[in-house]
Symmetry: C2
Subunit: 170 residues, 2 copies
DNA sequence: AATAATATGTCAGTGTTGTTGACATTCCAA
DNA sequence: TTGGAATGTCAACAACACTGACATATTATT
């Protein structure tokens, strides 16, 4: 259906993949990512924010009280780049910046009520689209989808992925 | 495995999806896309090109002789943005720009030998990663992966996806 | 106590990639 | 001939990434 057919395995259970099949997968990632970000992008444009703001809000929501260094590692950008985004979010009252109690060098980031609200709005449209795609594809496809995505991550990044969803960070 | 478990379907066969599961899927897309572009990005940085150049090379390779308007629709950017990228690729001798024979307003784009070579290099690292992820995940997962990605595209974009791989354009 | 390392913030400069808006040219078609 | 489509170009601007340098607390180490 998705790729026509032909995901054949050889005798050792290894997938046999033509360049053509791989290229289709590459394009699928490209086009799907466009659809994936289209909804949030529309909302962000109205408030003159960008994807960077969305990502910051998302991961602060995910790990309330996270530190700047934590965010940096997760997002994989420079501190100067993140700082520009955080500054506007703090100035606009969407993010709270509190000095750490144990280590006063650290700044703990949390969403304010308006911040939570915007994050929710962004998350809603993205989850709606995700949900629609998941339902259209079916449970088995969803499992495969996540398995491949996970295999596609940098091993280093995979840590952040697991970490954020699972236990607490230190 | 990928999402722990719990892709339950209700009596009407509809997926039951918690916000948490959907959020994980969103993060998976984010992290996976980083891994997806990491390889090409490294090569591009050396030649002081960007992702936009890669995308242009990819789709010209995919549809040799395509027109600027075709590329615009596929890439979803403005002609000014694409023009800047194409200009450098043409100037650098990676892309050939030929006036159409039937319609002389159109410019048909093809890769030169050096252009093919660079596209090949970019494509190689990306396909290698794709192949590794596919093999790690297995044939069934790959099918599900593509099914979900396709469902995630804008219906409008889905046309380009099918079109480019299948029959001729125009 | 002195020193080193860490965490954060900031300034200045640069580059890629996207956007609008305006305008010119070429050419097809009615 | 006129209208519109296809293409190219100019200027200006914004988002978001980068590097490099520097300042300031705070904590850790010696």
């Amino acid at each position: 259906m998705a790729q026509g057919q032909g995901w054949s395995e050889n005798t050792r259970g290894l997938l046999f993949l033509t360049d053509e099949q791989l290229r289709k997968g590459i394009e699928a990632m490209f086009f799907a990512y466009r659809g994936f970000t289209a909804g949030p992008d529309r909302i962000l444009a109205e408030k003159s924010y960008g994807r960077a703001h969305h990502r910051a809000l998302h991961f602060i929501q995910r790990s309330p009280g996270t530190t700047v260094n934590n965010l940096l590692a997760t997002l994989g950008v420079t501190k100067q780049s993140l700082n520009r985004v955080l500054r506007t979010l703090i100035k606009d009252g969407l993010v709270l910046n509190e000095v750490g109690s144990r280590d006063k060098r650290q700044r703990h980031l949390t969403l304010t009520d308006p911040g939570t609200e915007l994050e929710r709005a962004l998350s809603d449209v993205q989850r709606d689209r995700m949900r629609a795609a998941y339902r259209q594809a079916g449970a088995e496809s969803v499992h495969g989808f996540c398995t491949v995505l996970e295999a596609m991550m940098d091993p280093e990044l995979k840590g952040h992925y697991q970490q954020v969803s699972g236990g607490d960070h230190k």
